[in-house]
């Protein structure tokens, strides 16, 4: 801990997030707490379904396929859609209200309540559909699986349509809260945070429309009121692309906000540059969805090539935000006496659970970024798509990067809303390292499994058949690698359960003996420091290492592809 460390209360200017939240009215607080409570419940259930799924795959527990696939579907739906959207809905409403100059409260709050109720209905209906349906769908809701019994998918799609309606109803007041003061001339110019929140809310509305576009036609078909769905793969991939890049953008926006609150540091590059960086997301995200279709037969070579090329750009805005934050922190720390290439990093308030979470979130997001850039090369799709490589890499992003950042934000936000204390901050500050350890086991096992061709959605890898001619043994390593995945998932899930428990304690308990007031969490205040002369090499260096990792894994993947003893030509590789 640095010698200039202090608490948020001492540091606490009006710009402090905690102070801003505490000024919200009780009606707004109730609404926001409703979103965050359901988000925490969804997270808890989603993790439960996920760890059971992973344990089943690893052979730690025995699951009937009927149960196993249902759990896998519920894991994906609950975490990927409901946890991520409930928490984001709460964040955009909160940030629009507290960071927009001249706002101060949520505009059109009744509409947001309607949105909350629609989303709540959505999660209940989705889970009911997943539990009761004879035909088991996974989170992507592929309607072709319902060919024999379309009615089995009605509740599934209805839940998703309700979620889409809810997002429309929530995104609108969030956007209106940010826009109204500007239109009425009540506030100053938008800060980069307000600008980012507007982009975020706008993309939530895009998600709502993309969701309705994907799920309304199959809903009508399952009810007997519409034709069988054509082109679902495309409408799903457009939605799916939005669903997983929106939380990524949200993550870097939260880094930006939290770093300012933890250190008093604002971007040394100026507001305009930050706005440009956030705007790049809106420019680069929509046209890069082609890579989800790399394995679809019939995709022309030119489409595949353009898809690969465009996908290269997707990493640019995330890297820029990372470098802006790290360079700003480094220059301030050096101006405050930080020494050595990495020595200044020790000056950050690592005992603060939020800082600890953000530190590991950046590491995990970088790892996920390295592995994800292998998949955007269309020639490698034939090696890795649909294998366990996919969950292997994306858990680094979704759990270790996105969810960890969202939880870090909730550690600040929930106690600020409830007035309750932060539950055992010392324990919470240790959790990110354990989570990353679990992720490393899961991710390395999963990525290696992908290179070995292990399919991502198969529970029993034995493929046993009682026939000498038909029988062929899968490689021994398949089972061993799933053991890594199972062990990693148990560690990850344990950490996440502790986080969920902590969130509930902060939501509903005020036990002063084991907690600490949110304003007493350690922070540093480097604001007011004269900066600019000092160099800031750690950000660029980190990007150099990350891009080198991309080079390495891309070359490795091509080498492995080259070792496959099949030469192919034609559709779908």
């Amino acid at each position: 801990m640095s010698n200039n460390a202090q608490t948020a209360e001492e540091f606490g200017s009006d710009s402090n997030l905690t102070a801003r939240i505490k000024r919200l009215g009780s009606g707004d607080k109730k609404l926001l707490l409703s979103f965050f409570t359901v988000a925490a419940i969804a997270l808890g259930f989603g993790i439960t379904f996920g760890v059971l799924t992973a344990a089943g795959r690893a052979g730690i527990i025995s699951l009937d396929n009927n149960i196993a696939y249902r759990l896998l579907g519920m894991h994906g739906v609950t975490i990927f859609f409901y946890w991520l959207y409930f928490v984001q809905a709460g964040f955009v409403l909160l940030l629009a209200a507290v960071y927009t100059d001249g706002a101060g409260s949520i505009f059109l709050r009744p509409l947001a309540w309607l949105g909350f109720l629609a989303m709540l209905a959505g999660i209940i209906i989705s889970e009911y559909g997943l539990i009761t349906s004879d035909t088991i769908l996974l989170y992507d809701g592929n309607p072709s699986l319902l060919i024999d019994a379309p009615g089995d998918g009605t509740f599934f799609y209805l839940g998703y349509v309700m979620l889409s309606a809810g997002l429309l109803l929530v995104g609108t007041p969030a956007l209106a809260t940010a826009l109204r003061p500007k239109i009425l001339g009540l506030g100053k110019e938008w800060t980069p945070i307000t600008f980012a929140v507007v982009a975020w809310s706008g993309l939530l509305l895009v998600s709502a429309v993309a969701g309705a576009n994907a799920f309304y036609p199959p809903l009508m078909w399952t009810l007997g009121w519409g034709a069988p769905v054509v082109g679902y793969a495309m409408s799903w991939s457009v939605l799916f692309h939005n669903v997983h890049y929106l939380p990524l953008m949200a993550t870097v926006v939260l880094w930006y906000i939290l770093m300012e609150n933890l250190t008093g540091v604002k971007s040394v590059f100026g507001q305009g540059f930050s706005k440009v960086v956030f705007a790049i997301y809106m420019i680069f995200v929509p046209p890069t969805s082609l890579y989800h279709l790399f394995l679809e037969p019939g995709m022309s070579e030119s489409v595949l090539a353009v898809g690969s090329l465009l996908s290269l750009f997707i990493a640019v805005p995330t890297i820029l935000v990372f470098v802006v934050i790290v360079a700003s922190l480094e220059s301030y720390a050096r101006a405050r006496g930080g020494r050595g290439l990495f020595g200044w990093i020790k000056m950050l308030p690592w005992k603060n659970p939020v800082m600890a979470a953000l530190g590991m979130a950046t590491v995990n997001l970088s790892l996920g970024g390295v592995f994800s850039m292998v998949l955007i090369q269309n020639k490698l799709a034939v090696l890795l798509s649909d294998t366990f490589y996919v969950p292997g890499y994306f858990h680094f992003l979704t759990v270790g990067g996105v969810s960890l950042t969202f939880i870090a934000m909730l550690i600040y936000v929930i106690p600020s809303l409830t007035g309750n204390q932060v539950w055992r901050p010392r324990i919470l500050a240790l959790l990110p390292k354990f989570l990353t350890t679990g992720l490393a086991l899961f991710g390395i096992g999963g990525i290696a499994a992908g290179y070995h061709g292990i399919p991502r959605r198969v529970f029993n890898l034995g493929y046993h058949v009682d026939d000498a001619i038909e029988h062929v043994d899968p490689p021994f390593i398949w089972g061993a690698l799933m053991g890594f995945v199972g062990a990693g998932s148990l560690v990850m899930a344990t950490v996440m359960f502790i986080y969920v428990y902590a969130l509930f304690r902060m939501l509903f308990s005020t036990n002063a003996r084991i907690g600490i007031d949110v304003t007493k969490l350690r922070v540093v205040d480097w604001g007011g420091t004269i900066v600019g002369r000092q160099s800031a090499w750690v950000g660029p260096l980190a990007i150099g290492v990350m891009v080198s990792g991309m080079y390495f894994f891309t070359i490795l993947s091509f080498q492995i592809l080259d070792s496959v003893s099949i030469i192919t030509r034609g559709a779908g590789h």
Binding site: P297, S308, R457, V458, R533, S565, I566, R569, G570
Partner: protein, 225 residues
Amino acid sequence: MSEETVTRHFTLRPAFTLAVGAFVLTLYFVWALMGAAPTGISFSSDKLTEDLPPMPMEGVDIKTASMEGMSMEGDGGMTPDQFSEITYQFIDDLTLEDGTVRPTREWTQARKLAEMPAGMEMPKQDAEAIANEPIDVYVIVQRFGYEPGVLRLRKGVPYRFLMMALDVNHGAAIRTATAGHIMRRPARVLTETVMTFTETGEFMMYCTVYCGVGHDQMRGKIIVE
């Protein structure tokens, strides 16, 4: 937004930061090095640029034809029923005593001949050209297996895999000695892929696209001799 204006170190200038952000785009040159750059730039020649005869995509190049005992219609596509009929004939004709199916060039040639419209003759090809022609392999993909279940192929010979998922979307990955070769097979779409196996061995074929609760029982076998 900065606290005070001073002469900035170049690492704190927006232009430098943009350059760092754009550094990830250099991955393109690695793709080029691997012969996989989208513009076609290639510094190497590997199996990705193998000079095989150009193959048609999708099922649209399967010509409408009439074979003895078979009725085919449509605009160049093939219905699941038509595909099943040909595949079962393929299996009936080429199944060995041990139950495996060995596709042959003769069967492929005979089928081509049968596909020719009445009055047309097969273009004459020399022996070498015929020897380089891929041998047709028909595979039905459906819940929860492949038909034929076990194929017996030869190393170094190009095979034209004609596959159709008859019910829902499936995968048809092949696990070789080192890694998997992943293929998707969308429902009721005829796909065509030419594959040449360069090593002998027994390879498992398995589904990588979730297709229902029996997904993990869906497997086949390719014996390469």
